[in-house]
């Protein structure tokens, strides 16, 4: 990762250095005077210093805007004006401007959509000198460029510089040659050369003056196929942060065309939905649907020029309406999770793993580890480091196992997500058993060994290392129900990716989880921060044991919720019996008979496993009325159709996804959703609340989580009059202020402060 950061820094420095290109006098100018500050710089650049007649010289104007100011694309959109370049070059033909792919700007709550560039753009045109040209020729350009931030300032540039025409001589690339190449990569190219299939769909057979219409642009990347054979299709992703910005329309004059959404077509690909309006006085000759696309396909970004037929008809002519549900924007929200590059996902996973250490589920384990360190303090550094490595190995091994399980279950078609194992009552019971045993060991009831004699100090020797490994496993197991911030996105990304990516992401989480402890072990100055061992440690040990028992209470509660109170009672009885068995084992351990200890240990493990299998866990869950806790935010059961219906009624909507085993969810629900101010704000604005309970498996909830790039709970969505198409997605750790702010943002009649 540091290497990556370094590379980014280098690239940034290189960019800064490039921006300061020197150009000859006359080829640079400032314009767009904003009360003394010029907002636009123009530089006339050439890709050759010398060129032969007939060869192509790229001539371009590099526009550099003040931060936050922008210039427009060839279609400026609903406001603004495109830059206009007028070239004057003696004895040469000048081709059209190659417009790089633009950004989309939305003003006044998307009432005004425009297209353009911030920071810097190179607008280049090919120049060809006719035969007969020779010697030094002046390349001259006059440009009208409107530059806007909130206000707009028309700028005017008059630039010129010489170029040598060398008939029969050698052409000579200029210092800016690479810059032209770089920008040309961002210029959309016709689709012919690429293995992409573009298709335009319309809501009617032809569009007439005065018509309002819907359309869609479908992008597929498939080859082969046909009768009986399945086409080989690769995924096509939008290359823009906002999926619907991947297509920028450039409609013929008299037609307004706007992107309404992006969705996934039934075959791998991308579908951009559009709405259009034809001016009553627009001509009705056939025209083309043009625009620029930015896609990621097969791992690389490509910019594609769209040029498809757009059939027209005269006003009043008979046209056939075409019913096609794919022309509508995605139902209730963007069906696109933001596309995340792999390295970002890995980085997020690592960060998420780090933060997991602070989550209530993992903190006790980490505390036990640090406490173990204090015991180890008298040992050499090498021994301490070995423990760190063993713990890390435990974490990574369980992460790898988890990744393998996820991949296998996914291949089997199961609908699973992060924390899925807590949807399995048997798993919950097993973890509760492990925790009880672990707590008893902390209480000193027994020790983790099957051989004779007291180990001089806990932690030394192979047994100690094994224990560190085991604690690593435990940390992972306990960590999963706590989705840390950052983790949701990374894991969501993993669940939607290949098996290799799943493994990579999970291991990155593991590294993040293990890192703090590993560092404490590895860095001598950090290890010194660990307190000295003393009698207080015995007390701490027991206190931590109780913390683990508290976790068992939580697990028992989860099981009660998902499998009913009978199952819960059975689990508690089992745990009680297990504890008694462990106690007996502990008593034997204090004796010196090796055979008895071994036999008792084996018997105990076998009985524990058999008992676990025998637990009646498939009992009926508590009735609905029973499951709703008192301070729980009441909500209708989540269904996508229910949310859509509420939005159609014009009601603001709050959807929350939770699970009984998700501690982060419960913390949020208690501290934020249970807050009086939150309740009042929701009620006052007439929010309809939907609750998606993922305690048990649910395909619809899993799909909805996946739509937002999540593989687990919690997820909080706020839809309102100002956020119908795309809900506000709240972070995984809520605060009251943040929540009220989001409500206010979505439904502005909500008072932000109460």
């Amino acid at each position: 990762m540091p290497r990556l950061a370094f590379a980014v820094l280098l690239a940034a420095l290189a960019g800064a250095a490039r921006a300061a290109t020197d150009v000859p006098e006359g080829a640079f100018a400032n314009t767009a005077n904003d009360r003394g500050t010029t907002r636009l710089e123009g530089r006339l650049l050439l890709d050759h210093d010398a060129v032969r007649p007939g060869e192509i010289l790229q001539a371009g104007v590099l526009l550099t805007m003040s931060p936050h100011w922008h210039v427009y694309w060839r279609n400026s959109g609903q406001s603004g004006a495109p830059p206009r370049l007028r070239w004057q070059i003696e004895g040469a033909e000048v081709g059209p401007v190659a417009w790089p792919f633009p950004q989309v700007f939305r003003e006044a709550d998307a009432f005004i959509t425009t297209y353009g560039y911030t920071d810097e753009v190179l607008l280049a045109s090919p120049v060809t000198f006719r035969s007969g040209a020779s010697g030094e020729v002046t390349v001259r350009v006059d440009a009208d460029v409107l530059v806007c931030r909130v206000q707009c300032i028309p700028g005017e540039l008059h630039l010129s510089r010489p170029v040598r025409i060398v008939p029969g001589g050698e052409s000579l690339a200029s210092a800016d040659h690479a810059r032209f190449e770089e920008w040309s990569l961002r210029v959309p190219q016709p689709v012919g050369a690429r293995e992409l299939e573009l298709e335009a769909m319309l809501s009617q057979s032809a569009i007439r003056p005065g018509d309002d219409f819907k359309a869609a642009l479908a992008v597929h990347a498939c080859s082969g196929g046909g009768e009986g054979a399945r086409a080989a299709c690769v995924a096509v992703e939008p290359a823009t942060a906002n999926a619907e910005d991947a297509f920028v329309p450039d409609p013929p004059s008299g037609i307004e065309l706007l992107v309404t959404g992006a969705r996934r077509p039934p075959t791998p690909g991308l579908l951009l939905t559009l709405k259009g309006h034809v001016s009553p006085s627009a001509p009705h000759t056939d025209s083309r649907l043009r625009g620029a696309l930015a896609l990621v396909s097969g791992g690389h970004t490509q910019y594609v020029e769209v040029d498809l037929p757009l059939p027209r008809a005269a006003a009043g002519a008979a046209v056939t309406p075409i019913a096609n549900p794919w022309l509508d924007p995605p139902p209730s929200a963007a069906s696109f999770a933001p596309v995340l590059p792999l390295w970002q996902a890995l980085l997020l996973a690592l960060l998420g793993g780090l933060v997991l250490n602070l989550m209530p589920c993992v903190l006790p384990v980490l505390a036990i580890k640090v406490f173990g360190l204090a015991e180890l303090a008298q040992h050499g550094r090498a021994q301490i480091l070995r423990h760190g490595i063993a713990y890390t190995a435990g974490v990574l091994a369980s992460m790898a196992a988890l990744a393998a399980t996820v991949a296998a279950l996914r291949a089997a078609g199961a609908s699973i997500g992060w924390g899925f194992q807590f949807q399995e009552p048997l798993f919950v019971a097993a973890i509760a058993a492990v925790l009880v045993v672990f707590a008893l060991s902390l209480f000193g009831v027994f020790e983790f060994r099957l051989d004779v004699g007291r180990v001089a100090t806990a932690g030394s020797g192979a047994e100690g290392l094994r224990r560190s490994f085991f604690e690593g496993l435990l940390a992972v197991v306990l960590a999963t129900p706590c989705t840390a911030p950052f983790l949701g996105t990374a894991v969501g990304f993993a669940f939607a990716s290949s098996t290799a990516t799943i493994a990579g992401i999970f291991l990155a989480i593991g590294v993040g989880l293990a890192l703090p402890f590993l560092l404490i072990c590895a860095v001598p100055s950090w290890a010194r921060l660990v307190p000295r061992s003393g009698p207080w440690m015995e007390q701490l040990r027991i206190a931590l044991g109780f913390a683990l028992l508290a976790t068992v209470v939580w697990l028992a509660w989860i099981l009660g919720r998902s499998a009913g109170s009978d199952a819960q009672a059975a689990l508690l009885a089992y745990l009680c019996a297990l504890a008694a068995g462990v106690w007996v084992f502990g008593v034997l351990q204090r004796g010196e008979r090796v055979g008895a200890i071994r036999a008792a240990g084996m018997a105990l493990i076998a009985l524990a496993l058999l008992g676990l299998r025998a637990l009646p866990l498939e009992g009926a869950p508590a009735a609905a009325g029973e499951t709703a806790g008192k301070d729980e935010l009441a909500g209708e059961r989540f269904s996508a159709s229910g949310v859509d219906a509420a939005l159609a009624r014009g009601a603001p909507v709050f959807v929350y996804f939770t699970a009984e085993w998700c501690l982060t969810c419960k913390v949020n629900e208690h501290a934020v959703l249970g807050d009086q101010r939150v309740r009042a704000a929701l009620a006052q604005s007439g929010f309809e609340v939907f609750k998606g309970d993922w305690t048990r498996r649910d395909g619809e909830i899993r799909d909805e989580l996946a739509r937002f790039g999540k593989a687990g709970v919690p997820l909080y969505l706020v839809y309102g009059p100002k956020a119908t198409a795309q809900p506000i997605v709240l972070p995984e750790l809520l605060t009251v202020d943040l929540f009220l702010k989001a409500l206010h943002q979505a439904a502005p009649n909500t008072e932000e402060k109460t």
Partner: protein, 193 residues
């Protein structure tokens, strides 16, 4: 207090944002707004007259260009002579009647400027730029929407004025051609949060 006002404006704008603007050929729903002197103008009170709506913002260089050259004032005066009602509309969120009065004085014109700081009329009409021109016929039907002329860079020696030609078409009982053009200029500075 100011916060509350902004709040209401945002709420109104958000609700209106969902309303589809009037299309050419449709009857313009009635609206009313005070001008810079507080005199209320109702669209329906001008039934029987053609009405030109001009979206304006004195801080926009495109508007300034048309005013400092005197084009807008001259066109409005010529229209006035034909009994056409000319109403400027300012939907800039922070514009005040005093600002408008000062601008009118400096640019030497007297037709009313409707005060629309909450963008209500702007959203109703689909005004997106300044200038953005609308020609409504004597029956209240929108007949032209778009740019003032075909000279977005201000470099043409003989620009074609679309508003002038649209009004001429109305007097000749023909359909304006073009009836819709892509307007150019600054975006209307609607209030947002």
């Amino acid at each position: 207090m100011k916060r509350t006002a902004l709040f209401v404006a945002i709420a109104a704008a958000s609700l209106l944002g969902a309303v589809k603007p009037v299309e050419v050929g449709q009857t313009v729903p009635d609206f009313h707004a005070p001008d810079q002197d507080g005199v209320d103008h109702k669209l329906s009170q001008y039934r029987g007259h053609a009405v030109v709506l001009e979206w304006t913002n004195s801080g926009c260089p495109f508007v300034e260009r048309h005013y400092s050259a005197g084009d807008m004032q001259k066109l409005a005066a010529a229209m006035g002579a034909k009994d056409v009602v000319w109403l400027a509309v300012n939907s800039t969120y922070d514009n005040t009647p005093a600002d408008t009065k000062e601008w009118m004085k400096s640019q030497n014109f007297s037709y009313p400027t409707l005060q629309d700081p909450d963008g209500k009329i702007g959203h109703l009409m689909g005004a997106r730029t300044t200038p953005h021109m609308f020609v409504i016929d004597a029956k209240g039907i929108l007949r032209y929407r778009g740019a003032i002329d075909d000279d977005q860079y201000g470099r043409s020696s003989a620009p074609k004025n679309y508003v002038d030609s649209a009004v001429h078409a109305l007097f000749a009982s023909t359909t304006p051609d073009p009836a819709e053009t892509q307007s150019y200029g600054c975006s209307v500075k609607y209030g947002t949060n």
